[in-house]
Amino acid sequence: MADKTQKSAVDALAGRLFDGMTIMAGGFGLCGIPENLIAAIRESGTKGLTVISNNCGIDGFGLGVLLESGQIRKMISSYVGENKLFEQLYLSGDLELEFNPQGTLAERIRAGGAGIPAFFTKTGVGTLVAEGKEVREFDGELYVMERGLTADLAIVKAWKGDAAGNLIYRKTARNFNPMMATAGKVTVAEVEQLVPVGSLDKDNIHTPGIFVDSIVAGAKYEKRIERVTTRPREEKASA
């Protein structure tokens, strides 16, 4: 078995970054984002990036730091409403943007990773999203053709992983990470816990190691929460 472990996020990306490349980054909002790999890309100064990610972080955190540093040329996303800088850069013409419906984005990545060049979906028929795309009727309903999506590099974040590249995600931090892991020409994973080979439950591995080229234990995790929302505790009944 090849040991895919790297010492640091910088090491894991060494020789894998180049100007003008396309990068997929896992996560939904700030949940399940590869914090350490994003920081390493920031440090590398690689520019002209096309980034495929459901969102673009927030001002000052997540992919938002790559916007601030001017390293992103184009985003492919479904929702960027949490990011003021994004809106400014886009409206001023300094950032290219392709909006994909969230389910279409997920399926484009799944298809790309599975070797499927295109598929038809009902989503977006009759809207801007379908403009310039083939629309075909199946069983009396209209569907628009969407293309599979791949990237030069996919960066994903999991909860646990081993040196073989097997990954397990935690709760809703899974989101886009499993599909992206399959759709990178090179996939680098960061994990909260790098565990010995053989200790993961083989029936419950979400991403089999074949999809992962390098794995690194994240040096630190901030795991910011975008909207802390709580409910009041019930008053304890006095005895």
Partner: protein, 214 residues
């Protein structure tokens, strides 16, 4: 007089049925969860990858790995499950979700919905809304009847970019309830909010509608 946000959410909750799998959008639709009738079993789907959403956590028990599609912290239930975004939208696009309740910017009399962008002004994105209106069996929109400027939002045709064409089944506003039936039947006003007159709602609506008050 008109319905409050809470009253609109309560009216939307009347669309729930026992055993339904439901997706609730951000804003007023999220409040619908507070009005699920006692004894009715409704499972909430969150498109970022969870079935069986629980209530907000107690302070100090928030988990950064457990959020809803509005990025709010939530909790799990004994029957909850987690899955990828691709599996989540297989549920949505594949017609496995019974009901979606969404917010809106504009709705047309044929059931077109616009709720994702204002060209040159608001650039947020559609998120999962286009997939939801395309794939979910029944689509209910909850929105204010008019804009802050007083301009109507229930129109003969939407002027903003569409989220979906002929996708809305029912519209609930602060002034009343309209059956739209995805444009397959004439737009019909079926209920007026407390203290709202037919004259008022007619004056504030651009779309042509029939009246069949219960």
């Amino acid at each position: 007089m008109a319905w409050t946000r809470e009253q609109m959410a309560a009216r939307a909750a009347q669309e729930l049925r026992d055993g339904f799998y439901v997706n609730l959008g951000i804003g007023i639709p999220t409040l619908v969860a507070n009005y699920i009738p006692a004894g009715m079993s409704v499972t909430l789907q969150s498109e970022n990858g969870m079935l069986g959403m629980g209530p907000f956590p107690y302070e100090g028990e928030e988990d950064a790995d457990l959020i809803n599609a509005g990025k709010q912290t939530i909790t799990e239930l004994p029957e909850s499950s987690y899955f990828s975004s691709a599996d989540s939208f297989a549920m949505i696009r594949g017609g496995h979700i019974a009901l979606s309740i969404l917010g809106g910017m504009q709705v047309s009399q044929t059931g077109d919905l616009a709720n994702w962008m204002v060209p040159g002004k608001v650039v947020k994105g559609m998120g999962g809304a286009m997939d939801l209106v395309a794939g979910v069996k029944r689509v209910v929109v909850v929105m204010d009847h008019v804009e802050k400027s007083g301009a109507p939002k229930l129109l003969t045709a939407c002027t903003l970019p569409l989220t979906g064409a002929r996708v809305v089944d029912l519209l609930i506003t602060d002034l009343g309830v309209f059956d739209i039936a995805r444009g397959k039947a004439p737009l019909t006003l079926t209920a007026l909010a407390d203290g709202v007159t037919l004259e008022e709602i007619t004056a504030k609506t651009e779309a042509r509608f029939e009246v069949a008050l219960a």
